[in-house]
Symmetry: D2
Subunit: 295 residues, 4 copies
């Protein structure tokens, strides 16, 4: 089974000013990021604006990602869709592009019918047909549906389901999964804001928006913990929370892209209905980046 | 401005057993429904499994719908997507197919960034570019985001936005919109369960899942109210709630399609991850249909 | 069984500037209100700051209320508490003071254990021991727990439970209750913002914060509906929503009391932690009162 | 400033079968618990059924608690009420009984008005008048209101506010508080289910329902972490989650009391509307206790 241990940035997708894809910038960003000891990269997660792209565009982004990611580093591809058939189709497509694993968000439009049985069935159907191993993606702040521990544990029983990215931040649920899911099931923190708490109970790493702009800080938390340096780990964790909140829950992908631009990467515009951050927020963001990273 | 007054079924999309489209059945169902005095039909709403279809399939369904809908009857087409550009694209496509109006669900994936400004901007961007007039679609149970009255009132100011289908069931919000939105802004109830309460405060009609299987009962509520027969209206409204709940919030589209099959229309299968209703639920459903419609 | 039909103000409790009780002002307010054709008054509902008073104070307020309420008019007394025994104690106390019925909010502190069985048991235990008939009080915005239709229907089966004040605003639930609760079970709207929708499906009246400051407008809605004048009823209902929202959900009891002061009644201070409304809000409130009531 | 570091059980309140207080059993339970290296005890928290007791009963329980708690051990007393004046009154009363600190739940009945300003004002008013130092109590699962980080940080600025018990389980909020509240502000985990994650980011201990029945296991987590033994800490934390969930969120105080009875302490009955756990749940509970504690 593929070992997921480590830190992964969920790469934003690069667009030109007219909102068209800019795959060359994707490659440039990947090159910069792999100056750090990252385990891999997630292509087309929530920060990659996956719900904004056509399937043809998704294929181009998967291909651009794989080409730029160094040999031996893991490419995870976001392939969740509202129908089972579309999710399988995208998982095959990502696999053809060379993805090492697919990250599958649960369908959530028909929330009333997405009970535990339907969700377990969905994950098993996808896992059965996906050429690449499947990582469950729980992202209640976006999907509006929070997978419960029992559902995740049951879904995890399929041999082709290897882990979960949990962005919900419920550490009790995470502990329940780590305790009760099949042996070897790998839990990744979905946010730098609770990376250390997650590691403390057995998570193996994280897919972290913050790792796009502060990969060093994210690795400092991860490495300090693994070296048993709990004081340093705590210090780095507390240092990360405010900036991470700014580029995720608070101001979202537009702020993450603005931060990348500020730091010499390519952030570029978001697709509408997302709007660029305003000037006052930009100033707060820059001040926060400087305060967090420059000292 | 197009007058929306009346009752509209949001037609389920017909699939074969292998989940492929069956446009001929769409036409047959439409023919049956227009045996009743309906104002029109919604093609590709939530009950039409709109999030399950590719764009190419959507085009085929819009075309099939328009061809079958009688001249003079209104075709509303569901065209909401997660990006502004895709929503505009689908609205143009539906317009090309002959839609009289488009029903636009708000994007909701990036809930944290979908504040009132972003949502108003989205609706104005779409309205500016959509050839057909726009009806706002508020469906919090599915989208996970409940448009507030202020947002709807501000969005309504665009000349090409003519109304709203509100499925939230918050009658206070509905009254606030009716009182404060621009003159002529048309409110449609999004569920038969609160049709009469909505009419009592000024709604002009409804887009009602129940109208697919009990168009007569929906029209009885509507006509009784308009004739000033409040006792009859109440009686029909109370009669409708339980069956409507069964085919919407409780058991969803799979139950609605099963009910259509039972009543001699074509329901057929749902697309996965939706699952067909179980046998015990089917028996409860049939008993409820008989109790509601046969006496 | 006592007939609850009609309109009831839930009277705010009068305090002096040092937060001590001012029972004389309670009597004065009641005298003013019964210049209108109200069915009765609720003493110590949410607007009466019931959770702020000691039991000894509650007794004084019940006594003051009963003394001032005209013969033949209904006094409803709020007696819900977190324990069953305390609720029974307060219901007996209110009954001793001459309450015609008690309004019993569900306990909600132990939300996780307050399943349907526990809640039905609670209401049956209270109904069994309360000398006065019991009205269920569903107030999810305050209690944080929304009684579902099944629970209410099961609770209603006790002979000493005669109705419900539902402040949740879910008209579908209300219709389900009216359809399925025991014959004669009486539903009262818990807010003027949805009085007409509630009447349209069979509610018999309302306990309405707005009736403290605009009893005439509330009665206009009620009487127009009962006379079959749906156009007038709609007009009055739409006129009431904005002011009602201001003195309930938006600015709460402090605004309701300020409005009473402005209109020549005694509002007076609220008990802390409630804070008086600020000057800018006071100006908006006064403007809204003038706009709603003076034309 | 009093140092809160360590583990505290929130003691259930002992009742006889007729629901009357049984203070002698409170003393016996305290004697048993202080066979472990606990820092102190919370009297009349949520597990102490604080909302079920009259003020006179509260006084008796505070007195019984203080008398039994060994010299040098900390007694924290729960004193939150819906009004500011009542909270101050209870805090003085607890202080008279010898409480070292008071735990003050935020008032939550008027949720709509309990904005950040009102809540900060409440805590400052109470802190100003409470003889004993104040610990904020955030318990959203019961109160229905989740204090946000900004409110807590602002409230913490008062010199007489020394810490918080946070039962919400939001580790990101907890990290934000630890980073930004005044120096020396002490955070206590409110549940054993996230004790280790909380310690990892700087919490100083916990007030833990589980510490009533498994004080040794709670201390194992705490001590392992403080000794830098992250592997052991993780193992004990994962072992604690399931039983802790059972006696808190899942089956609540009735299960906690049943577990105490099973383990040779005095649990006794709960006050209604709480109901004793059923026999099938009792069997599950006993099996879970044996599995968690006997190996």
């Amino acid at each position: 089974m593929i070992k997921l241990n480590g830190i992964y940035p969920p790469l934003p997708t690069s667009f030109r000013n007219d909102e068209e894809l800019e795959p060359g910038k994707i490659a440039e960003n990947i090159n910069i990021l792999f100056g750090y000891e990252l385990a891999g990269i997630l292509i087309l997660g929530s920060n990659g604006e996956m719900v904004m792209l056509s399937n043809e565009e998704k294929k181009r982004v998967f291909d651009a990602g794989r080409k730029a990611i160094p040999t031996g580093k893991i490419m995870i591809a976001g392939t969740g869709a509202q129908s089972t058939r579309e999710t399988i189709y995208l998982s095959s497509m990502a696999s053809d592009s060379g993805a090492d694993a697919v990250l599958v968000l649960n369908p959530a439009y028909y929330k009333g019918q997405m009970n535990s049985d339907a969700l377990v069935q969905f994950y098993h159907d996808v896992a059965e047909r996906s050429p690449a191993p499947v990582i469950i993606y729980n992202m209640p702040a976006n999907s509006g549906l929070d997978l419960d521990a029992d559902t995740i544990i049951k879904a995890s029983e399929h041999h082709n389901i290897i882990g979960i990215k949990d962005s919900g931040g419920n550490l009790v649920k995470m502990a329940t999964i780590i305790k009760n899911a099949k042996s070897g099931f790998q839990v990744l923190a979905g946010s730098a804001s609770f990376l250390l708490p997650a590691l403390s109970i057995g998570a193996v790493g994280g897919i972290l928006a913050l790792a796009n702009i502060a990969p060093g800080l994210c690795l400092d938390i991860y490495n300090s913990f693994n070296e048993g340096n709990t004081e340093s780990a705590k210090k780095y964790q507390l240092a990360a929370v405010e900036l991470n909140t700014a580029v995720t829950r608070q101001w979202g992908v537009p702020a993450l892209k603005a931060a990348m631009d500020y730091l010499g990467m390519y952030g570029g515009p978001v697709r509408k209905p997302l709007l660029p951050i305003t000037s006052p927020i930009y100033r707060q963001l820059v001040e926060l980046i400087d305060r967090t990273l420059k000292k």
